[in-house]
Amino acid sequence: MTNYKIIFTGPVGAGKTTAISSICDRPPLSTDKIASDMTRDVKKTTTVACDYGTVRLSGGDCLHLYGTPGQERFDFMWDILTSGGIGLVLLLDNTRANPFQDMDFFLEQFQDFINQTQIAIGVTQMDRKSVPCIDDYHNHLSKQGLTIPIFDVDARKRQDVSLLIKALLFSLDPGLIENND
C-alpha cells in the first residue's frame, strides 16, 4: 500500500477545510479553534495545525489530503508537508482585500513544488463578490506567462472541488482515460 497526497493551500477562510471535507471519506481531522485576534472578524473558527482527510482507493492505496493552516502565512513546515505530494490545490477567497496578492504569495511560496508537479486554482466566495472575475485572474497570470486551470468554485460543492482535482490530474497526465463526465 502506498500513500499519495494532494496539498490544499490558500489564505484564511478560502475554504480549505470545507473543500477537503466535501470529498474525503470521513469528516477530516481539523484542528480548528475559535479564532482569535486578526482572524476573528473574518470567521468563527480557523485551522491552527493542519487539515487532514483521506480517500480510499481501490487496490488498497490511499490518497491523503492535507490543508495548510490559513493564518500561518510563513510556515517552515511547508516543504516537509509537500514532499512526496502529487499536486497543489490553491483556494482563493474572492472577498478578500487583494486576492491577486494572495495568489502571487502562494505561487511564490510553493514555486518549487508547483514546478515539480501541477497546480489548480479555485476561487471561492464568488457568489458573495463577483469581482474580480475569473478572466481577471487569468490576465494577471498571463503577465507571468502562466496557464493554470482556474475555476469559480464553491468549496461546499463536492462537484466543484472534484472538478478542480480532475483538472489537476489531467494536467499531470492528459493521457488518463476519462470516465464520462
Partner: protein, 414 residues
C-alpha cells in the same frame, strides 16, 4: 378558417418545451404570425413529435378524437407508416414550411367537405384521410447536414445554406429540434473516422463559416464591446441582445434559450446590426429581460453551431496551444474537454494528433476547439513564416497513472 385574417391554429403535441418555443419563435419571426400555437382541442392542424415516449399511443388517441385534423409528424426515422405529412429531423425551414402549406391545403379541402371539422368525433371519415405524400420540396433537404459538402462555393459549407425561399424571409432553418444535451450525443462520431486533412472534399464537410451565424455576429459584437470598452447592441431577427462590457454579461429576453436553436441558421449581414452604445445609454434589464454571463453563452452557442465541425479557416495540422482554461465549473464540459485542455496547456498538439494521442473521436476535439477558439482560449502555433510549427512527441505517461485513474474513478462514483 379565414385564410387572410386569422392565423392557422396549430397544436404541438408530444414536444418538449424547447421544441415548442422554437416553433413559437418560427411562427412569429418567420411566418409573421400566420400560424399560432393553441391547445389540441381548438387546433386546425397538429404537429406531432413521434420520437417521444408513448408518441404512438398519443397519435392513436389524437386520431380517434380529431380524425379530420391534418397532422404533420416529425421524427428522426424514415418511418412513414402513418397517413400524414411527414418531416424528418433535423427539420429544415423549407421542409417545415412546405409541410405546413400541404397541411393547410388539406385543411381547406376538408373544410369544404366536412364543415364540422373541429368537432371531436370518434368516427373516421375515409375521404378525409391524408395520403402519406412527403413534401416534395423537402426531399433534397432531408439529407443529414453533416454529409453535405459544398466545396464549390466558398460561402457555403456543410450544413448551412441560405434559402432562396421568399416565403421564409430567406432563412433556412437547419437547427434540429432536439434537446440541448442530446445535441452532443446526436453527433455521429463515426463520420470523421477516416478523416484526411489533405482531402479538400473531406475538410469542407467538417468546416463551417461562423461569420454569418448568430455565433459569428455575437462574437463580433462581444469582442467589439471588450475592445472599445463600451456596451454593444446586437440586433437581428432575434430580440435585441445588449453586451455589457464591464461585467462581461449580456442582457437578453428571459426566454433566451431559443437563441441556441438559431445556431444552425445563416443571417444576411444586411439583416444584422452591431451598434456601439454611448455610455450614457441605460442598459438596466427590463422586466422581461435577464442578464447572463457572456462567456458561457458564447461557448455554448459555438459548441452548438459547431455540431462536430470547425470554423472554415482552421488548420488541422498546426499544433494548438491553450491560452486560457475555460471556467469549467460554470461552462458546459464538452466531451473530453478537460483532457484536451490539459494536453494543449502542457504541449501544443494538432487537432489530428490530439484525437489519436488521447484516443478520442476527432469530432469531440473539433467541438472543443470551436468553442474555445470562439473565445480566443486557444490558438494555433505558427512559425515566423506562418507555417504550422512542428509537433513534438506526446508527453510520457505519468508514473502514477494507475493511482490517478483510481482516483478519477472514485471522484465519479460518489
Amino acid at each position: 378558417m379565414d385564410n387572410h385574417t386569422s392565423p392557422v391554429k396549430i397544436a404541438a403535441l408530444g414536444m418538449e418545451q424547447r421544441t415548442y418555443s422554437t416553433l413559437q419563435l418560427f411562427f412569429h419571426e418567420h411566418c409573421k404570425d400566420s400560424y399560432v400555437l393553441v391547445e389540441e382541442n381548438s387546433a386546425d392542424i397538429s404537429i406531432i413529435d413521434m420520437d417521444g415516449f408513448q408518441a404512438r399511443r398519443m397519435l392513436e388517441e389524437h386520431k380517434k378524437h380529431y380524425p379530420n385534423q391534418p397532422s404533420i409528424l416529425i421524427s428522426l426515422s424514415h418511418d412513414k407508416a402513418h397517413d400524414a405529412v411527414y418531416i424528418r429531423k433535423p427539420i429544415m425551414l423549407e421542409a417545415l414550411s412546405s409541410a405546413l402549406l400541404k397541411a393547410k391545403e388539406r385543411l381547406q379541402q376538408s373544410t369544404i367537405k366536412a364543415p364540422t371539422l373541429k368537432t371531436p368525433t370518434v368516427e373516421t371519415t375515409p375521404q378525409l384521410q391524408m395520403t402519406a405524400t412527403p413534401p416534395e420540396t423537402a426531399a433534397p433537404l432531408l439529407r443529414n447536414n453533416n454529409n453535405v459538402a459544398h466545396n464549390h462555393d466558398s460561402h457555403k459549407t456543410a450544413g448551412q445554406e441560405k434559402s432562396s425561399s421568399k416565403h421564409f424571409n430567406q432563412y433556412r432553418y437547419s437547427a434540429n429540434f432536439l434537446t440541448e444535451d442530446a445535441d452532443l450525443e446526436q453527433i455521429n462520431t463515426k463520420l470523421a473516422e477516416n478523416f484526411n486533412p489533405d482531402n479538400p472534399i473531406q475538410t469542407a464537410k467538417f468546416q463551417y463559416q461562423p461569420e454569418q451565424t448568430l455565433q459569428g455576429y455575437f462574437q463580433q459584437a462581444y469582442f467589439t464591446a471588450l475592445q472599445t470598452q463600451q456596451n454593444v447592441l446586437l440586433k437581428g431577427v432575434w430580440r435585441p441582445i445588449t453586451i455589457l462590457h464591464k461585467s462581461k454579461q449580456l442582457r437578453v429576453e428571459k426566454n433566451f434559450r431559443h437563441l441556441y436553436a438559431l445556431s444552425g441558421m445563416l443571417f444576411d449581414k444586411s439583416d444584422v446590426s452591431i451598434t456601439i452604445l454611448d455610455n450614457s445609454v441605460d442598459c438596466e434589464p427590463r422586466l422581461h429581460e435577464t442578464v447572463l454571463p457572456a462567456e458561457p453563452f458564447l461557448w455554448k452557442l459555438a459548441m452548438r453551431t459547431s455540431r462536430g465541425r470547425v470554423p472554415a479557416d482552421t488548420n488541422f495540422t498546426a499544433p494548438i496551444k491553450l491560452i486560457r482554461w475555460p471556467n469549467f465549473t460554470r461552462t458546459i464540459i464538452t466531451p473530453h474537454a478537460l483532457r484536451i485542455a490539459a494536453l494543449w496547456a502542457k504541449q501544443p498538439t494538432s487537432l489530428m494528433d490530439t484525437a489519436s494521442y488521447l484516443s478520442v473521436p476527432l469530432q469531440h476535439v473539433f467541438i472543443f476547439y470551436t468553442a474555445a477558439v470562439s473565445l480566443n482560449f486557444v490558438t494555433p502555433v505558427m512559425t515566423e513564416k506562418n507555417h504550422a510549427a512542428a509537433a513534438l512527441p506526446p508527453a510520457n505517461r505519468h508514473r502514477y497513472r494507475k493511482i490517478f485513474q483510481n482516483l478519477l474513478e472514485r471522484l465519479r462514483n460518489n
